[in-house]
């Protein structure tokens, strides 16, 4: 009996908590008023992994990312979303779903850091004290924990009351990450989070991304194949077909990099002719 159990003892990747994808995208299309942006995307986003989304500009990478936490609702002029995005088996586009709650559970990091014009301390707590009504006595502990998670604590612990804009851009981006982490999100979406950063700050963020997947699921939009190789576990490659973005291939990063069509698209991003490497 014990042996039978052991035989059935699930390997880590078979544990239900882990094997169930964090997000499931089915038949997702996004249309602007008179042109399609994304067409029929099907994708599963594995839990506790870093999924990269790569592809040429205009293939709808950022739009795809923004549909995952319904930030697409805010676009003006508005975009029409059809299809499903399932979180815990429930379509987040159902009428009964509260979009604000979804956005608290699925955090996002933008290309350029957006810090609010207040202190570092209040920036970290900006979401959590309002959304989760975190009591004041827990503020300091939560701020410290989030800043530590974002590898920023040692640099700012003596200047928490300073204006957040006094930080460098790389530090601001990590502050934005800390602000998202304070809400304890299940999934963190990142829209080319290092495109405004220098190589050192980029490296700091990349190390963080890899560390984050222990607790969270990360979806990373990138235009840099080298970055995709360095940090992602699986990859979704988008391309432009008939004026709209389509999913070319998805799977483990190494596999996608071997796919000939993706190879072509990715090598174009690297600036070289296809097939050189």
């Amino acid at each position: 009996m014990a042996e039978a159990l052991r035989a059935k003892a699930p390997l880590p990747f078979l544990q239900p908590e882990i094997s169930r994808p964090a997000l499931v995208i089915r038949g997702l299309s996004v249309d602007a008023k008179n042109r399609p942006i994304l067409r029929q995307v099907d994708l599963e986003i594995p839990r506790h992994q870093v999924l990269g989304i790569i592809g040429p500009s205009g293939a709808g990478k950022s739009t795809l990312l923004k549909t995952l936490n319904r930030l697409v609702d805010l676009e003006s002029p508005s975009l029409a979303v059809t299809g499903r995005v399932e979180l815990d088996g429930r379509n987040i586009y159902d009428r009964s779903v509260d979009a604000d709650e979804i956005r608290a559970r699925i955090g996002i990091l933008f290309q350029r850091p957006v810090v609010f014009p207040c202190s570092i301390f209040h920036n970290v707590l900006f979401g959590v004290r309002r959304v989760n009504r975190l009591p004041r006595r827990n503020w300091h502990r939560r701020a410290e924990r989030s800043l530590r998670e974002a590898a920023l604590w040692d640099q700012v612990k003596d200047r928490l009351d300073d204006d957040a804009t006094t930080l460098s851009v790389g530090q601001q981006q990590r502050l934005c990450l800390a602000r998202t982490l304070a809400l304890e999100p299940e999934v963190i979406l990142m829209d080319e989070p290092t495109s405004a950063l220098d190589p050192r700050a980029t490296q700091a963020i990349e190390e963080l991304i890899v560390r984050l997947k222990r607790q969270h699921t990360v979806v990373l939009v990138t235009h840099d194949p080298a970055q995709a190789r360095r940090v992602t576990d699986s990859l979704a490659c988008l391309c432009i077909c008939d004026g709209a973005g389509e999913l070319l291939e998805s799977g483990p990063t190494a596999v996608v990099f071997r796919d000939s069509r993706c190879c072509e698209a990715i090598h174009e991003l690297e600036g070289g002719p296809p097939g050189v490497r």
Partner: protein, 282 residues
């Protein structure tokens, strides 16, 4: 040739500025020079008997202050609500309609507000002449100015703040309180200041609704409780201007009105300085 045109243009601009500045300085100087001596005289030179202090303009001064503050209290919350409606909640046609309505309301002559106040508050509600009626009418009059000023400031806020706050899961009302209002209240301040200066100087909206020339001090209720007010005081005294005693009071009233508006804008100066600094750095 191009440099000549450039110089001529600069000369013309400078002359215009000097002219405007000179005119304003001359008016202010005349008012102060003629008004200051009158302010010290108390009621001795007064022909109207009831007035006391500040050369007879103490109660008109207090009355105007009361009217203007009431107008601000009425207009500020309404303007905030309308501005949020315009810039956050409404879209498309309804938003355009509200915007047009605001500009039209801003262009309505002030006497029409006075007539409305007379028909509605004084006659229909049977308040008689009342400071509250005057304050509300003035508040409605400056409402579009404050609303447009605030709404434009909200519209000018970078969308990245709204997006970042929404990305954290804040609801729309939380975004309003945490992001939009704290970053745009400068618009409210400057709009209120513009409106306030206008409200302090208007005669038409209050002459049928809120003020008398003599015989009132501070109100102790709403019904039939008029106040004295500086612009109306000036208006009546000016019709009497052959009487030298009335003339003295006229100058006193005018310089006090000028000082009031100047003082109120001085009061908000620190706020406005900080805001313009933020605007430069932001």
């Amino acid at each position: 040739m191009r440099r000549l045109v450039d110089r001529l243009f600069r000369l013309a601009t400078g002359l215009c500025a000097l002219g405007a500045l000179g005119l304003l300085t001359a008016i202010a100087f005349t008012l102060v020079a003629r008004g200051l001596p009158a302010l010290g005289r108390g009621s001795a030179g007064s022909t109207v008997g009831a007035s006391l202090g500040l050369g007879g303009v103490l109660y008109p001064f207090l009355g105007t202050l009361l009217l203007v503050m009431t107008a601000l209290l009425v207009a500020t919350p309404l303007a905030t609500a309308l501005a949020l409606l315009e810039s956050v909640y409404l879209r498309g046609g309804a938003r355009r309609a509200l915007r047009i309505w605001l500009y039209v309301a801003n262009a309505v002559p002030s006497i029409l507000f006075g007539i409305f106040g007379l028909l509605f508050f004084v006659m229909f509600l049977d308040w008689g002449k009342s400071w509250l009626a005057g304050g509300i009418v003035l508040g409605l009059m400056i409402l579009p100015t404050i609303t447009v000023s605030l709404a434009e400031r909200i519209a000018a806020l970078p969308t990245r703040y709204r997006r970042a706050a929404a990305g954290l899961g804040l609801t729309r009302s939380q975004i309003i309180w945490a992001v939009l209002l704290p970053q745009s209240w400068g618009g409210l301040v400057s709009g209120a200041l513009l409106g306030l200066a206008r409200a302090a100087g208007e005669t038409a909206p209050i002459m049928f609704t809120a003020v008398v020339f003599a015989g009132a001090t501070l109100p102790d209720g709403v019904r039939d409780s008029p106040v004295l007010a500086l612009p109306y005081h000036i208006f009546v005294l000016a019709q009497d201007s052959f009487d030298p005693a009335a003339q003295i009071q006229l100058w006193a009233a005018a310089s006090v009105l000028l000082a009031l508006v100047f003082g109120l804008s001085l009061l908000t100066l620190p706020v406005r300085l900080r805001l313009s600094e933020e605007a430069r750095n932001g």
